[in-house]
Symmetry: C2
């Protein structure tokens, strides 16, 4: 019997777990990603706030494939998927498959607001995180030389849209960067001159968490000095202001958009499939496509009904679905069928600042120091690679003891930063 | 008495040492640099060969000024220096001074060969090191998919021009990256297919070292698998080949140019001064300008006669001159005069590979393991910042034990790398 070819398209949390589960199982495994590394997205906000170097949260994929028999990594952009011809079409050629796991993740959803897309930062890639870090520091450099108080105030106002974990964690980390580090670096700038505004369209932050934790997180952020605007809707942006649906505006040069995600554009190239909310691909209870039982869609790209609703777009779902898809393929090779995918809700968490986080697990709610410690340990545990864990642990220990962040470097030519951002937006849109 | 204003233009080795020496001495100190960090240039080649993250060899300058009284950091590009008007003209305004230390360093010297400048990499900035690292990895990615053996060979050929410490250290580190790491990452590429050619116009490598060490270094590199071409002169380059004066060419997509440096372009803006070799500014024995006894020029920018010749453009010279300039300013404030600058030759060193280096000190020559250990310790000692030392030590230990380099990430979109390179060349030329 010829060996079966399994292609995994996308090496985020879902694709990576599927690959680990299939490695060494006798199939011919091909992993495809546009980057040559797996990115630990939950810590991107720390790269953007000068807490971690980008290298610490990325793991080279070839370091995995070289350990595995019959596993190949292909660094390529996936152009489309030819379901009837059973090939993945990349910019470097076509990859035939017997089984396919589509795990291309999500992109930021700007809900069609072009002015926001053009004038905001988002946090989906390493390059974007570094661009944002440079930009924040450049705002302080410019403000330190600016005498006009109106311009100065706009330079020192940071608007974050989206009260989910990314928005909350970024707001807290940015506030700590300013209070502990930048306030000392820039003696001519008073902390009171800086402003962080966290904007959320719903009536509370962290809507996935129980009310008690939502209130704790909001109170904690407010005590730290973060302004929270609930039930506020951003409708547009320029490079110097953010506009709201009630006609008000905030003068600011920095808008981080973390208000929503949509399935990767790759989803749109699939023909003969059904789409759910956020452009996600509707999957069968076993995560396959209705017409193509050998094609699995997992993670942020999949719209998977579970206990009356679609599962959320988050890492634990992708990881569990990756395991399921891999096991289903192995079962199929043995002529067996697995029962439908069942999601096991392990809980959710978000860190707010030093010694402060919120978490739920098995119906219990935690907040404060213990939740923060649990957050640290879980993130270290899920980070891949001994060196990455060591660097991150060292950075966290250093930051904790010295209240300092040494990575506050502007690594691009400052006069080129706007160009840089344009380019990175191009890239995202392309 | 009004406080004296001292401006230090450039925060490389010389400027930094002058600043440290003047900090807290009662002068009003202004430090200027186009970057917001001091760069430890001797380890740039390790960033380019995936051994260190860029953040590990840079230290934020505001972390220094915030500890010092009456010290200000200005992040700005210096446009020119108005010697008669006693101001430093930057793109962010003018800075008046009573004393000035010019320490703007050097740039790569392409000796007027435009085709080389357009088609080569150089190693003077963090951005360049990261661009080169990405490029090397992209060459392996492309080669792994390439079937045409001629193209494949050109992709896997790396030409380094200049047999000084940078060329030697980069050649050794690149060879180790290929043999220990990339050979395993890319099973479809045989190590024998890769080629590293180190080109030097003189008749030996490391001409600053005694003959015994030069021969040791060359033999060691050859044993590692690096080709050495002596008395060979590059006269041109395209994106796919390097051309020699004898009409021969090497098909290669990667040319690292480390064959020479010239004084920063800032030197050319000085009027009424004398220029020595490599566009350097001729200084008096006390490092001042003949007509301007309150203006010091130090480091790579200075042409300083010493024991019958001009001092070389290297870090130890800059460091000692930085100390001298600072002490001379302090003496001048007390109405005293220092004796002329005297250079104390502490020796020179270069590392070749794991457990192998060459060094001279006080007339003695060392090679092998001990020289390598001395190299490691000295570089750690001169690196600034506790965190940087810890990260570098950890990376070196990790690389030593596991023969691995985890930072082999392609951090730019691979299809944009050529654009990236263009941009970085623009920036360099600008």
């Amino acid at each position: 019997m010829a060996q079966k070819r399994v292609v995994i398209a996308g090496m985020g949390f879902g694709g990576l777990r599927a690959a680990k589960e299939l490695a060494g199982s006798g199939v011919e495994l091909t992993l495809v990603d546009r980057h040559n590394y797996h990115l630990f997205q939950p810590l991107l906000y720390q790269v953007a706030t000068a807490g971690l170097e980008q290298e610490a949260i990325a793991y080279p994929l070839r370091a995995l494939t070289r350990k595995w028999d019959q596993a190949t990594f292909v660094m390529a952009e996936i152009v489309s998927i030819n379901l009837s011809g059973r090939t993945v079409v990349t910019d470097g050629g076509e990859l035939p498959y017997d089984y396919l796991v589509i795990a291309a993740g999500s992109r930021t959803n700007f809900f069609g607001m072009e002015s926001v897309q053009q004038n905001s930062f988002d946090l989906k890639s390493l390059a974007q995180a570094e661009v944002l870090r440079n930009h924040i520091l450049i705002m302080f450099e410019r403000a330190s030389r600016e005498r006009d108080s109106t311009i100065r105030s706009a330079l020192l106002t940071f608007v974050i849209v989206g009260g989910g974990p990314t928005g909350v964690e970024f707001a807290g980390a940015l506030r700590e960067l300013i209070v502990y580090v930048l306030a000392k670096d820039y003696p001519s700038i008073a902390t009171e001159e800086t402003r962080i505004v966290l904007v959320e369209a719903a009536d509370s932050l962290l809507t996935a968490l129980p009310e008690k934790l939502r209130l704790y997180a909001a109170e904690k952020l407010r005590n730290m000095g973060v302004e929270i605007q609930l039930q506020a809707k951003v409708v547009g942006a320029s490079s110097e202001a953010v506009e709201f649906s009630d006609g008000s505006r905030i003068a600011s040069h920095t808008l981080l958009w973390s208000a929503g995600v949509a399935a990767s554009k790759l989803a749109g190239t699939l023909t003969g499939v059904q789409f759910g909310s956020s452009g996600r691909v509707v999957v069968q209870p076993d995560l396959t496509l209705a017409e193509y039982p050998d094609v699995f869609v997992i993670g942020d790209m999949a719209c998977c009904q579970h206990e009356g609703g679609a599962l959320p777009m988050m890492a634990p779902v992708a990881i569990q679905q990756g395991v399921h898809a891999a096991r289903a393929i192995k079962a199929s090779l043995r002529g067996e069928t697995l029962p439908a995918f069942r999601y096991f809700d392990k809980g959710a968490m978000a860190t707010i600042g030093k010694s402060s986080a919120v978490a739920t697990a098995k119906g219990f709610s935690f907040s404060g120091y213990l939740a923060w410690l649990a957050w640290l340990l879980l993130h270290l545990y899920y980070l891949i690679g001994f060196r990455n864990r060591a660097v991150v642990m060292m950075s966290w220990t250093y930051a904790y003891w010295f209240q300092d962040r040494q990575i506050r470097l502007i690594t691009t030519n400052r006069r080129r930063s706007s160009q840089f951002q344009e380019k990175h937006i191009d890239q995202r849109v392309a």
